[in-house]
């Protein structure tokens, strides 16, 4: 039986890079608990019958250089310097 705890929610939130406020924890515990309790039935249902697996193939194409202008894409950046995207310091002072 899946049992979601507050600690687990905090851990997954960190993994997901989503800040979670104190008042958001309880509802999130409940949401995860509901969905996962239901979804865990796949474990009982899944049995490896002789089901052929999906056909997998690699899709290749010629490696041709297509000239594009990166400027419109760069111009969407919240902060930039020339060709660089600017982000806050990685390590706290």
């Amino acid at each position: 039986m899946v049992k979601i705890t507050k600690e687990e929610v905090l851990k997954i939130a960190r993994m997901s890079y989503i800040d979670i406020h104190e008042d958001e924890i309880e509802p999130m515990v409940k949401q995860l608990q509901d969905v996962l309790s239901y979804a865990q039935r796949v474990k009982e249902v899944a049995h490896d019958v002789a089901v052929p697996s999906n056909r997998r193939m690699n899709v290749f194409r010629e490696d041709v250089v297509i000239k594009t202008n990166p400027e419109p894409i760069r111009s969407r950046a919240p902060q930039r310097e020339g060709n660089y995207f600017v982000v806050p310091a990685i390590i706290e002072k």
Partner: protein
């Protein structure tokens, strides 16, 4: 272009009729685009189906005056890229973002002469079944504005149902074209996975996502799909199939000795609205009279499709939505460190439903849980796919409900999201199997709400699905009915 009757005729005219009017010179493409743009101005304050309606001049600058859809306006769900237009996925995290290119589906429609006049409202990142999670507000069902239009492509379905455009693009990951089509009484096609290029479609569950078409009748739907289907070098999952004219066999007849199977465990699932069961039984009689053989079949693993779908779609969503980090585009919260910037941006930018799905996705993929959840879900997916393939050895097409009940009230599932999501199980199995499916109107409830049913086929059977659905519409008039109050 004048006269009240002419205008009335225009609102709910089919694409074929519009093409004739344009060809005869009864109306110009400019007038037609202006006419629909004005209808949005008139009706969309209440319905909220468009995130943006473009100005006429800018719409006409990209007009390609040739092709089968020459001068026919439509609207595009706002998770499909349109060049130099906003692209929000109805999320705050894409605030201020605009696309630098057209999705392949959009560019092909433009090459076929079609005009896109706006961006349709949707559930945030296509996550929902009601268009209630949009950052741009709830969209409303034109048949009863206290009810949801379905989702996630709710805006597209409303626009077509209320006669604001004759076609709309949506996307379908677990039923997001077919379910709103059923709720709004229009035709919604989800093609075979890989038939329509996903280039320029913002990813939710990449192995399930497919662009689909809304129209008011089956013939129009086939016209629009014909213009955009086929291989695209820019999408490595696009199938190597040539362009095809899906309208070719739409003459009102059925394929000879057509065999239709009804999925009994879906039709008589717990919680099915008896009105929907009756409507589908009546529809089967129509096909029977036209010469089809009807049989009853059971697909046991179908009952577990929602569980497998929850896991696979959330897992893929968690990976796909990792890219919204405030670095290259979209919303950014200014914070002292990079980690804090990521976490605050994503906290403020994503709505509650999106955050929950990312969390579920990262849980089912994490060490210690992936074995129980993700790996088993993939096995169940294979079993479902296999059952469909086995069924298609005995029958040509399958029928099942699109949804267990007609459109629900806004807010009905606010306290129980799981219950709402579970109702996807008639539709999400189709995405898991990668097969095509259409939802077409097949009746009305006593509350005067539309009822839809699904017609499914094996991979790349779009032609046969359209032929069979069109033959049904030649014998019935459900698709010709429109919600009241949108006539003038």
């Amino acid at each position: 272009m004048a006269g009240e009757n002419f205008m009335k005729k225009l609102a709910f005219a089919s694409i074929s009729d519009l093409r004739n009017m344009l060809e005869q010179g009864e109306i110009t493409p400019e007038q037609l685009a202006g006419y629909y743009i004005d209808r949005f101005a008139k009706y969309d304050k209440e319905l909220n189906c468009a995130i943006e309606v473009f100005d006429k001049e800018s719409v006409l600058t990209s007009f390609c005056p040739q092709g089968p859809l020459k001068g026919v306006p439509g609207i595009v769900k706002d998770n499909i890229a349109q060049i130099e237009r906003g692209l929000s996925c109805a999320s705050k995290i894409l605030e201020g973002f605009s696309s630098t290119y057209d999705a392949t589906a959009v560019s092909r429609l433009k090459q076929a002469g079609a005009l896109s006049i706006g961006r349709a409202n949707m559930d945030e990142f296509a996550m929902g079944s009601s268009t209630e999670t949009s950052a741009f507000g709830i969209a409303k069902n034109p048949w009863d504005i206290s009810r949801v239009p379905g989702g996630s492509s709710g805006g597209s379905a409303i626009a077509v149902a209320a006669g604001l455009v004759p076609w709309a693009l949506g996307t379908d990951t677990g039923g997001s074209v077919r379910q709103p089509a059923a709720f709004c009484g229009v035709v919604g096609m989800k093609p075979t996975y890989g038939l329509v290029s996903r280039y320029g479609l913002v990813a939710y569950g990449s192995s399930l996502d497919q662009i689909g078409v809304f129209t008011r009748n089956v013939y129009d739907n086939a016209l629009v799909l014909s213009a955009m289907a086929g291989h695209d070098m820019k999408d490595s999952t696009s199938l190597s199939v040539e362009k095809k004219d899906y309208t070719q066999k739409l003459d009102g007849s059925l394929k000879e000795n057509l065999k239709i199977g009804v999925i009994e465990n879906a039709l008589h699932a717990e919680g099915m609205d008896p009105e929907i069961v009756n409507a589908i039984e009546e529809a089967l009689k129509v096909w029977e009279r036209q010469g089809a053989k009807i049989s009853r079949i059971t697909l046991p693993t179908l009952d577990h499709s929602a569980a497998a779908y929850f896991i696979i779609s959330r897992a893929e969503a968690a990976s796909n939505l990792a890219r919204y980090d405030g670095v290259c585009y979209g919303l950014r919260r200014e914070e002292s460190t990079l980690d804090k910037m990521y976490s605050e941006t994503r906290h403020d930018g994503f709505g509650a439903e999106v955050k929950t799905r990312i969390m579920v996705g990262n849980y089912v993929l994490s060490a210690g849980h992936a074995g129980d959840f993700y790996n088993n879900a993939k096995v169940v997916q294979r079993m479902i796919r296999y059952e469909f393939m086995q069924a298609f050895k005995d029958v040509d097409l399958l029928v099942m409900p699109t949804h267990p009940a007609p459109a629900f009230k806004i807010g009905a599932f606010a306290q129980n999201k799981l219950q709402m999501d579970l109702q996807d199980y008639f539709t999400c199995s189709v995405n898991l199997a990668g097969i095509p499916g259409i939802s077409i109107p097949c009746g009305f409830s006593k509350d005067k709400l539309p009822i839809g049913m699904q017609l499914l086929g094996p991979h790349l059977a779009e032609g046969l699905i359209y032929q069979t659905a069109h033959a049904y519409q030649e014998q019935t008039d459900w698709h010709t009915r429109h919600p009241e109050g949108f006539d003038s």
